[in-house]
């Protein structure tokens, strides 16, 4: 039906071709290129790299690599401003986001996305149903509008797209029994479309055509979890796992079609169920990289959900997740502003780095050892420069030290007589 020449990373890897993207990922991860190539070929690593995203510095996602984090940005119908979005992008990348998703639902989505892709050195992801609904209306979700939006976004250079193709008509009643029903925006839009029209999910129906588009531009599919649980009470239920099984089948269809695929995961999950959720995805989805949202481990901390989610994310990554979608302090309350993006990114960078250290990946603990050396040497400026957020550390110290900050040996925690670092220096004669 459509031409199938196509260069994608998975096709190239299967042909034993060391693409520049594979070589770059090997360099960044301090791994042998063969290690990367083998896993790209099998689908255990994805490299989201649209052939039209020229500003991209390629990176890889897979549970054996460093844990990656994603920051969501984007406009809403009530707050739409290109400059603000570019500022959020800059904050996200500055503080360590490995990918960004543009979740804009406001006006002129294409123009905002174009600007983001042009500026972004990290992969850019989208949820195409948002633009479909924003441009054509929820009542006009159909083959033509779906494929048109996906094709336009692919041509523009979007590196990965969330497609909720695993949410089938038969799953919806399972989800509506829940305390919080369907909390995924894309999932709820699709479920309503299915219910209203007594049809099957069009993203499922036209999945082969979506794959054709993705193969043409090497768009990685992020198989969305439209039925992720939105509260602890709904976690790990029949709806969630029915969809997960379907996502596993779709992973295999992607790979057969030469399209890279990862799988999205929950959501709100009690801490004790995180490990089981990670293992189940790995088994059902043949070890496709698992891209988890949080998970949020308590429901009762609005205003602090970057922390509830970082706790869950660390455990998720420890148990096999490959990428963590950040959550900001504004989760459940409103859209994040730049400062919220900063707090969310750092919280998730901490979770990711903690697990990279725990898995003893090559070189990852060097920064921690160096900052510890700086602490022992009372070298505050070096400590700040090595910190995940130098400005914040410097600002806090300044607030604490007041007029004494010029004395580098002045410990702002303990004063002079109670400083263990001074006593150590005395005991070791340093």
């Amino acid at each position: 039906m459509s031409e199938k020449p196509s260069f994608t990373q998975i096709i190239a890897a299967r042909n034993h071709q060391f693409t520049p993207q594979i070589m770059r990922v090997a360099e960044r991860e301090k791994r042998d290129p063969q290690f990367i190539l083998d896993r790209v070929a099998s689908g255990r690593i994805v490299i989201p790299a649209n052939i039209n995203h020229h500003a991209l510095d390629p990176m890889g996602i897979g549970r054996e690599l460093m844990i990656k984090i994603n920051a969501n940005i984007g406009t809403s119908p009530i707050s739409s401003d290109l400059e603000k979005e570019l500022e959020k992008l800059a904050f996200a990348v500055k503080y360590g986001a490995d990918t960004v998703m543009d979740l804009s639902t406001g006006s002129d989505i294409a123009a905002i996305r174009r600007a983001i892709i042009q500026k972004s050195s990290v992969p850019v992801g989208t949820v195409p149903i948002y633009e479909t609904v924003a441009r054509f209306g929820a009542e006009n979700i159909c083959r033509e509008t779906i494929l048109q939006v996906i094709a336009e976004q692919a041509e523009q250079g979007v590196d990965y797209m969330t497609i909720h193709a695993g949410l089938l008509a038969g799953h919806i009643d399972l989800a509506l029994k829940r305390k919080l029903g369907i909390v995924s925006r894309g999932g709820s839009l699709i479920a309503r479309h299915i219910k209203r029209n007594r049809c099957e999910n069009p993203y499922y129906q036209y999945f082969d055509e979506i794959l054709d588009i993705c193969r043409r531009y090497d768009v990685t599919l992020s198989l969305g979890d439209g039925l992720r649980p939105g509260c602890l009470a709904d976690a790990s239920d029949a709806a969630q796992f029915a969809e997960l099984d379907e996502l596993g089948k779709l992973v295999r269809r992607c790979r057969e079609a030469g399209v890279q695929a990862m799988v999205e995961g929950p959501g709100h999950v009690p801490y004790n169920e995180i490990k089981m959720n990670m293992e189940r995805e790995r088994e059902r989805c043949d070890d496709a990289p698992f891209y988890i949202l949080g998970p949020v481990v308590v429901d009762c901390a609005p205003g602090y959900d970057h922390i509830t989610a970082a706790i869950g994310a660390a455990q998720g990554a420890f148990c096999g997740a490959a990428m963590l979608c950040y959550v900001t302090p504004m989760e459940h309350l409103g859209l994040p502003q730049s400062e919220d993006v900063r707090n969310g990114v750092i919280a998730f960078k901490i979770a990711a780095h903690a697990i990279d250290v725990a898995r003893e990946l090559p070189g990852v603990r060097e920064v921690d050892d160096a900052i510890s050396d700086a602490r022992a040497a009372f070298d505050w400026e070096k400590q700040f420069s090595l910190a995940l957020d130098p400005e914040r550390a410097r600002g806090f110290r300044k607030r604490a030290a007041g007029n004494c900050q010029n004395d580098s040996r002045y410990c702002t925690m303990c004063g002079k007589d109670f400083c263990s670092m001074r006593i150590n220096a005395e005991l070791t004669g340093k």
Copy 2:
């Protein structure tokens, strides 16, 4: 040598006496009083309740109970103000601290502590060596000054005291080999005393006399980890574990003497070593409640250590810790102010609650289910009132909603057309 009549919770429990404190703990934990009494008798639960702390509402600490959190407050030589400390106390208790430690090292420590104990409904802990050094000077650490301070504090109503009696002369050289040596303030003061005077740790030497004082007032001993690791590179080393073995022996001496005891733990620990650390304490210290400081799981995030530590604390609690000492965003940078106390307490309350939920303790998830119901019903005010920090959640929503906040169905995250909660309501006909 001293009179040994003494009422302590452990002695009473062994005599099958259901003390008011045991009954109150059973009520708060929704457990059978016999369950509590048995574990107080065996030392697996402690109830820090000095007979002179009249404002106390008793609580229990043990890995089978709800996870508890402690907030450190207290002055330093450069910042000493009673009103500020009482404000920190109020913040700590308001946001959910289960105990507070007064770590004052400034002037007039006794007066500040007296005020804190009078005001505090939660157990108050101290580290007596701080007052010893602040009042008598580090060069005058000796039997008399140690026992005098402990006796005065006990008489004043301190519920638990950190005593670094497990740090022995033979351990010090092990610790000085490390990247960061000894980071515990108390530990470093004692190590220097031992080195300078070529003696044994006086808290170890006079431990029986300390036990006599504690038994008289029912002071719980918190056996301090003076050799806790201060960076990832130093974690789980010979120094740390040599001291832990000693703490295990001291636990047994406490129990034989009718004194309640818990054990303090690390510190900076890589995520993958947390479980082993929890299991080792349980084995070596005969299941004495483990009171852990964090643990901090990365070294490179000064300014965000409430998050690095909450991630470690959740994993620690999941693997058996009983109480979590909070860490504030000011850790490694300066003394916390009230707002830092708030951020630290909430971060740790999240970690503790997440693990209570994970362990499915009676009733603990009710608040999460209720807040989820409020979300589904667009009942923002109920959501805020159930939140761990209502003011912050309310403030964030106000910032996001702007002029639209009077429309309760106005979802500040998604606007109108993209709100999954509205779509759910439509699909279920609610």
